[in-house]
Amino acid sequence: MARRLVDPELSKHYFNQEVSKLQSLKGLIEHHGWAIEVDGFDIYISMYPKRHPEKKFLARLRCDEHPKRAPSFQFLDPATKHEGTQYWPEGDPFRAAISRTTPQLCIPGIREFHEGCHAGDSSKPWSSEKYSFAKILEDVQAELDRAYP
């Protein structure tokens, strides 16, 4: 059985705090057109490239064991919320992510970066203070906007 790093109740407390911080950034959420839904330790974010609002993507931050572990990031089928590489956007970092055995987006702040493609890279340690949920989502949004100019 996998060892738990954080007491689930404590984790939920910190998670809720971080979600509240994200949801308080109403101008930012409106600016990017994000629709945010929280279910347990999962945050679902409906997002689209700024110049192509017709291209909808559903992102999920899975934040179990927050704040000890970085949130895991995946794009999902917007209808079923199933994982699959076919639901990932175009663009270099996204194509690179799905070329790996399991999708690993190499952006600091994401679990797949800290525990996957850059595990052991001490120059970019995971920090819940440095990599807020909003910061992670904005970095993904910036790459989404660049992928669909």
């Binding site: 308080s24 930012l28 600016h31 909003a134 970095d139 660049r146």
Partner: protein
């Protein structure tokens, strides 16, 4: 002789690290507003080139060599500081 202060606007500036409400002169250039707001929002101003200052909901960052007045920024508007590129490694 009296010197007349340039008109000011009260702006809300939002980023992933929080929200500030500040008053700026309409003569202030966008770059200066962005860097000053970044410092207040605890975003490293030395990384200012990675960020743009946007009118909320607009697709293009404001041109940095123009002033708030040049661009018709008015009192009460919300601006957003947002990254132009992620740190992809």
């Amino acid at each position: 002789m009296s010197t007349k202060e340039p008109p000011k606007v009260n702006l809300t500036i939002e980023s992933s690290s929080g929200v500030i409400k500040e008053s700026y002169s309409l003569n202030e250039k966008i770059h200066a507003v962005k860097v000053s707001a970044m410092a207040k929002l605890h975003l490293d101003p030395s990384t200012a080139g990675n960020y743009g200052l946007f009118i909320k909901g607009k697709n293009e960052p404001l041109p940095e060599d123009k002033t708030l007045g040049d661009l018709g920024i008015s009192d009460g508007m919300t601006l957003v500081i947002s990254p132009l590129k992620a740190e992809v490694i």
